[in-house]
C-alpha cells in the first residue's frame, strides 16, 4: 500500500509542478500586442500559474501526510483544483480565437491534458485509499 501511495502522490506532485512551470516556459500564452496590451489568454496563463502553485503545495503536503483523513481531504481538493485548472483556459477565461495562436494550439490542450491527468490520478488514488482503508 505504501509503495502504491508513494507512486501516486509523487506522480500528482510532479504533474502539478510540470503544470506550474510548463505554463510559464513551455506552453505559455501569446505575448504582448504591438499596442502594448495583453490578450485575455495572458490572464488565463497567469491564473493557471496561480492554480498550479496551489496544486503543487497541496500535492506536496499530501505526500508528507500520513493521516488517512488528511489524505482524503488533500486528495479531494486536488481533484477539484485540477478541474479548476482544466476549465481556466477557454471556459472560465477567454483565449484567442485563431487556432494558429500559441495559446490555442499549445497552452489550452497542454493545460487540459495535464489537469485531467491529475484529476484522474486523484480519483483513482481516492478509490484505492477507500478500498485499502476498508480492508485494514
Amino acid at each position: 500500500m505504501k509503495k502504491r501511495q508513494f507512486i501516486f502522490d509523487l506522480f500528482m506532485l510532479l504533474l502539478s509542478i510540470f503544470l506550474t512551470v510548463g505554463v510559464l516556459f513551455l506552453f505559455h500564452a501569446c505575448g504582448q500586442h504591438e499596442d502594448g496590451k495583453f490578450a485575455a489568454c495572458h490572464w488565463a496563463e497567469r491564473t493557471v500559474f496561480g492554480v498550479g502553485i496551489v496544486l503543487s503545495f497541496i500535492t506536496f503536503f499530501n505526500m508528507l501526510s500520513k493521516n488517512y483523513s488528511e489524505k482524503v481531504a488533500f486528495s479531494t481538493s486536488i481533484g477539484f483544483i485540477s478541474l479548476l485548472a482544466f476549465a481556466t483556459p477557454g471556459i472560465l477565461i477567454d483565449i484567442c480565437k485563431m487556432p494558429s495562436m500559441i495559446c490555442v494550439s499549445a497552452m489550452r490542450p497542454a493545460v487540459m491534458i495535464i489537469s485531467m491527468l491529475i484529476f484522474v490520478v486523484s480519483i483513482v488514488n481516492r478509490l484505492f485509499m477507500a478500498k485499502e482503508h476498508k480492508e485494514a
Binding site: H33, E34, D35, K37, A39, A40, C41, D94, I95, C96, K97, M98, P99, S100, M101, V104, S105, A106, P109, A110, M112, I113
Partner: protein
C-alpha cells in the same frame, strides 16, 4: 483467466512491457497519421492552386522565394504595376489570366491576429472561385468576406480590418493549407481596405492608387501551348518573376518526402528498440517464473498448454498496451493538431474519422502481433524446460 491473473500478479514487469508495447503502437499510429496527413495536404494544395504559372514581383521573389510567398501564408503585402496583367494576357498561348491582391491585416485589439487578406477578381478568377463556390456561390458585395476554416469571426459574423467592418458571408471548408488562415474578398473590397489603411497612415502603395497595382497573376495556359516558353516570355517583362505551379508543388513534395522519411526512420528505430527490449523483458519475466511453470507441468499441464499460456499473457499485455497507445496518440494528435501543423510548416490535412479508426485498429493489431512474435522464443524455451532440474535446483 489464468493469464490475466498472472499478469496482475506482477504489476511492475507488466507495466514496463505495456509501456513498450504502447510505444510501438503510438509510433506506428502517429507516424501513419502524420505521413497520410501530409500527403492529403499536398493533394489539397495541388487542387487549390489551379493555375499553370504564377507571376509575382521580381524583387520579392528573389528576396523571399516564391514558395514561401504563395504557400507559407505569412501575412504580408507586395505589389507590381497592374499593366503587367495586360502584357501577360497578350502573350501567345495564354488562355486565361486573373490577378490577386494581397493585404495583411493588423493584429489589433484583444484576441486577434494578423491574417492574410486575398482579393480576387470575380469576373476572371479561375483559381479561388471553384473551391470557394463549394461554400458560397452568391456574389460578394463591397466589404463582404469569406473566411478560411481557422479564422474565427467576431460576434455578429463581423470582422474589422483597418477600422472598417466587414461582413463574413461564409466559412470555407478546411483545406489543410495556409488558405485556412486567410480571408478572401472581392478585388473591390481589398482596394477599399487599402484606402482604409492609407487613411490610418499605413502607406502600402507608392502612388497611393490601389487601381494601379496587382499582387500576383495566375495564368492558365492553352492546351497545346508550351508552358516553359510562356514562363520565359513572362520573365522578360520588367519587374516580374514567373514560376510553374507544378515545380512549386514538386518543391513542397520534396520537403514532404524528407519529413516522411524522417518520420519512417524514427518509427522503425522505435520499433526495433521496443521489440528488442520487449523480447528481453519478456524472457526475464518468464524466466523468473520457472518454478511456477515446473509446478504446472508436475500438475499435468502439457508443454503446448504452457506455451499457449505464455503466448496468451504476451498477447494480453501487448493488446492492452496497443489500445492504450492508440488512445493516447488520438488524444495527443487531436489536441495538438494546430501545433503539429504549425511545426511541420507544410500542408497538412488530418485524415477523417473512418480512416483514423482503421489506422488505429491496424496499429493495435500490429503491436499485439509484434509483441506475440517477440514472446514466441520465451514460450518455446519455457515449454521445453526440464521440470526435474528446476524443482531440484529450487530444493
Amino acid at each position: 483467466m489464468l493469464p490475466l491473473r498472472n499478469i496482475v500478479k506482477a504489476p511492475a514487469s507488466t507495466a514496463v512491457l505495456v509501456v513498450l508495447s504502447m510505444l510501438i503502437c503510438m509510433s506506428m499510429f502517429a507516424g501513419s497519421v502524420l505521413v497520410l496527413g501530409m500527403n492529403r495536404g499536398l493533394k489539397s494544395l495541388g487542387e487549390r492552386l489551379g493555375a499553370d504559372i504564377i507571376a509575382v514581383p521580381e524583387d520579392l521573389a528573389e528576396k523571399e522565394g516564391l514558395e514561401s510567398i504563395i504557400l507559407d501564408g505569412t501575412p504580408g503585402y507586395f505589389y507590381m504595376d497592374s499593366e503587367v496583367l495586360e502584357k501577360i494576357r497578350k502573350i501567345d498561348g495564354v488562355e486565361a489570366v486573373s490577378e490577386q491582391y494581397f493585404l495583411a491585416s493588423l493584429s489589433e485589439g484583444c484576441c486577434s491576429a494578423a491574417v492574410q487578406l486575398i482579393g480576387f477578381n470575380e469576373k476572371t478568377d479561375f483559381t479561388v472561385t471553384p473551391w470557394v463556390s463549394e461554400s458560397y456561390s452568391d456574389k460578394l458585395d463591397k466589404f463582404d468576406v469569406l473566411v478560411g476554416a481557422n479564422v474565427v469571426p467576431e460576434s455578429g459574423n463581423k470582422l474589422r480590418f483597418y477600422d472598417q467592418q466587414c461582413n463574413v458571408c461564409a466559412k470555407l471548408a478546411p483545406t489543410g493549407t495556409e488558405f485556412d488562415n486567410a480571408v478572401f474578398a472581392s478585388a473591390e473590397t481589398i482596394k477599399a481596405l487599402m484606402k482604409c489603411a492609407e487613411n490610418k497612415g499605413i502607406s502600402l502603395i507608392a502612388d497611393g492608387d490601389p487601381d494601379s497595382v496587382v499582387s500576383s497573376v495566375y495564368i492558365r495556359v492553352a492546351k497545346n501551348a508550351d508552358i516553359e516558353n510562356i514562363r520565359f516570355a513572362i520573365n522578360k517583362i520588367e519587374g516580374v518573376k514567373a514560376v510553374k505551379a507544378k515545380s512549386m508543388l514538386t518543391g513542397v513534395a520534396e520537403s514532404m518526402n524528407v519529413v516522411s522519411a524522417m518520420v519512417k526512420a524514427v518509427v522503425i528505430a522505435i520499433w526495433i528498440f521496443c521489440m528488442v527490449v520487449i523480447a528481453i523483458g519478456f524472457a526475464l519475466f518468464v524466466n523468473g517464473r520457472k518454478k511456477e511453470f515446473a509446478v504446472l507441468r508436475v500438475m499435468g499441464m502439457s508443454r503446448m498448454k504452457i506455451a499457449k499460456l505464455v503466448m496468451c499473457e504476451a498477447l494480453c499485455i501487448n493488446l492492452f498496451g496497443g489500445v492504450l497507445g492508440a488512445l493516447i496518440s488520438v488524444i495527443l494528435l487531436y489536441s495538438f493538431k494546430y501545433l503539429i501543423v504549425n511545426g511541420i510548416g507544410l500542408p497538412y490535412f488530418m485524415p477523417g474519422f473512418p480512416v483514423m479508426l482503421m489506422i488505429m485498429i491496424l496499429s493495435v493489431l500490429v503491436s499485439a502481433v509484434l509483441g506475440g512474435v517477440t514472446a514466441f522464443y520465451s514460450a518455446y524455451k519455457i515449454a521445453r524446460v526440464d521440470t526435474g532440474i528446476i524443482l531440484r535446483e529450487a530444493g
